[in-house]
């Protein structure tokens, strides 16, 4: 498992590369990227593929709960923290 700072850095980099709506200076880890439509429905499948690569595990889309992609904080907590259940 990579260090937390590396993972958060990779997530931030993916958001900035994917979205045209935000700059590096504006993006914060607690920013609601779905609610503010920084990441749109067209990009959500790419996010899931990216997380599968980063975690090395497959994600069962049917099991995803509301809020798991709410922010970089939420993604880190749900997919990378010890004991995270990937949902």
């Amino acid at each position: 498992m990579k260090a937390e700072t590396d993972i958060r850095g990779a997530l931030r980099e993916w958001v900035l590369k994917t979205s045209t709506k935000i700059t590096a200076g504006e993006l914060k880890d607690d920013m609601p990227i779905i609610e503010e439509r920084i990441i749109t429905s067209l990009q959500i499948m790419d996010l899931i593929l990216f997380l599968e690569q980063l975690t090395g595990r497959s994600i069962d889309v049917a099991q995803l709960r509301p809020g798991v992609f709410r922010s970089i904080d939420a993604i880190y907590k749900n997919f990378f923290e010890d004991g995270s259940d990937e949902r």
Binding site: I34, S41, I44, A62, L64, G67, F69
Partner: protein
């Protein structure tokens, strides 16, 4: 089950059910229809919503902008006309116009560029295209809406039905305040008249939902809450569109794509809930405006 429900609804002599999924009303039921809509209009008046009356068709291009055809191909209904070429029209007129099953033997069709309204509020966003809002905008309309379904049940699931919507366009804070206020307002009304409604998070009825990213998005970030009667029938909903329509139609508020949200009511479903809860005798109905 559906047969039982059909029998129950058709008990009322002021309601006529068409097998193609439509209803006609007369007498006390028509008064109830107007009374329920007057109630919604009185609620719309509480935010000074401007009322609009729209035509039946929407340009298909407006719905394509919203990806409607990919999301809801199973629901859409198109108005079609015959190609105006004289030979084409003659062939149709001189041939057998109907087949045994009751289907029209169509000749070549003219290009289809319109859609029968699938939801009342879709008319507002193309109309406001390019507008710069200097404050929140509140509007309301009632439209006959069309949604093709696999089967129909009187008053509950119809091909054409009446939808009243109250819509707010503004900043995220203005829209969420609008939606929260109406949820409280409507809940108080349900309590007052004793209509058993539960609020439930829901998703739109996307085609091939498990593979549709928009469905997944609604699951991850719920934006629709329904007023559910008897644990199974949504008689209305509260919807937060975020800035989806503002972006698609370049409507801006405070220098950014406007947010929007709507409160939607299905009038035939309200009539169903009303008759189920209070009976068919108008003497026992709660008072409406």
């Amino acid at each position: 089950m559906n047969v039982e429900r059909q029998r129950s609804a058709s008990r009322n002599r002021n309601h006529h059910w068409y097998e193609n999924g439509q209803s006609a009303f007369a007498g006390e039921l028509l008064e109830l229809f107007h009374g329920i809509d007057a109630l919604f209009l009185s609620w719309a008046g509480e935010c000074d919503a401007a009322e609009y009356a729209f035509p039946t068709f929407l340009p298909a291009a407006s719905l394509a902008k919203l990806d409607y055809f990919r999301s809801f191909p199973h629901l859409v209904t198109f108005p079609v006309t015959l190609d105006a070429d004289e030979d084409n029209l003659s062939r149709f007129a001189e041939g057998e116009p109907m087949d045994q099953s009751g289907a029209v033997n169509l000749a070549r069709l003219a290009p289809v560029c319109d859609v029968l309204t699938p939801a009342a509020c879709y008319h507002f966003y193309p109309l406001f295209k390019g507008d710069v809002l200097d404050g929140p905008r509140y509007v309301t309309t009632r439209a006959t809406c069309f949604r093709r379904e696999a089967e129909y049940v009187p008053l509950e699931r119809q091909w054409s039905f009446s939808m009243r919507e109250i819509v707010c366009l503004g900043t995220a804070a203005e829209v969420t305040a609008f939606l929260d206020g109406y949820r409280r307002r409507i809940s108080a009304f349900f309590d007052e008249i004793g209509l058993g409604i539960e609020w439930k998070e829901a998703t739109d009825p996307f085609f091939n939902a498990p593979k549709n990213p928009k469905y997944l998005m609604q699951k991850l970030d719920p934006v629709k809450t329904e007023m559910v009667f008897q644990d199974r029938l949504a008689i209305g909903s509260i919807n937060f569109h975020r800035n989806y329509f503002g972006e698609a139609f370049e409507i801006t508020r405070a220098k950014e794509a406007t947010f929007s949200g709507c409160v939607a009511f299905g009038i035939e479903r309200w009539i169903h809930a009303w008759l189920t809860q209070f009976g068919h005798d108008a003497k026992h109905w709660p008072k409406l405006p």
